[in-house]
Amino acid sequence: MIIRVLAAASIFANGAASHEMTPTYFDFKPSYVDGVYVTTMSMWNRRNDVEYYEISVFDDEWNNLPFASRDRVFRLSYLSREKIDIYIKQEDIKDVEYICTSSKQLKSDVKSTGVKSTICSRIER
């Protein structure tokens, strides 16, 4: 109970800010382009100190993989939700393991120690 009260107090006192992405496990389906597959991720920005996020796609060794989306670094205003389509070539799908979004803070927005948040979803196998 005390922890809950402290948690609630800290949220109100500090305006807790969060970064959220779903689904946890994604899969690909064919897109309207031949030989290209697509998955849709949903993001919600409750970080009032962050307005930009970057998408990355990795294999199981955390190497970057090529992908296409409307923007790699996109603006997501505070309390906004966005669906992001990520396109991958059919031959690369077997290598895909993680899709991650990372917060990108402007230099001017970082306090003494900022927090870079990254959430990674994993492919459904």
Binding site: A7, T22, T24, K111, V115, C120
Partner: protein, 165 residues
């Protein structure tokens, strides 16, 4: 007799009205949310040192992880190893840090601190219970050998990662 039948009919209709229910269904999918509850601040206990320890005049950053379903995510938190912005520095920096569980929403998480895995500047926690976990981060940096840090603003970033298992 007729009155009794009407009364019974009315009760039956009313009863069936009460029995009719409107279902509300919901589904909580697995997800991980990272909250920055407290932004850290460096204190300057010595001319050549910056630290987030309260004893050194700093404020420790506190990061909260919320997971809706157990065993779906791993938290990886890294203390900084460079400044994101600082005045021009001519000597080397020595970085150190620590990540610890500061509070948990359920007792199921009491083993997190003992089970954590540390390597380089990264600390990993298996989020084996659903709920909220608060992590506090200590960051300490010393400059050169007893050299004063130049005046100005120093900023560094803690990295909080939540990876699906």
């Amino acid at each position: 007799m007729l009155r009794s039948i009407i009364a019974l009919g009315a009760v039956a209709v009313a009863g069936s009205a009460f029995a009719a229910d409107t279902p509300i269904t919901g589904n909580v999918s697995s997800k991980c949310s990272i909250y920055t509850d407290v932004a850290g601040v460096y204190g300057n206990p010595n001319p050549d040192e910056l630290s987030t320890l309260p004893a050194d005049g700093g404020v420790m950053p506190i990061i909260r992880y919320d997971v809706s379903i157990a065993d779906y995510y791993t938290a990886k938190i890294s203390w900084p190893q460079s400044f994101t912005s600082s005045p021009s520095l001519s000597d080397s920096l020595t970085w150190d840090g620590e990540v610890e569980v500061s509070a948990t929403s359920t007792t199921d998480m009491s083993g997190y601190e003992a089970a954590k895995v540390e390597y380089d500047n990264v600390t990993e926690y298996d989020l084996t219970a659903a709920g909220s976990t608060w992590f506090k981060v200590t960051s300490n940096v010393t400059y050169g050998v007893d050299k004063s840090l130049p005046g100005g603003e120093y900023k560094a970033a803690v990295e909080a990662l939540c990876v699906a298992n």
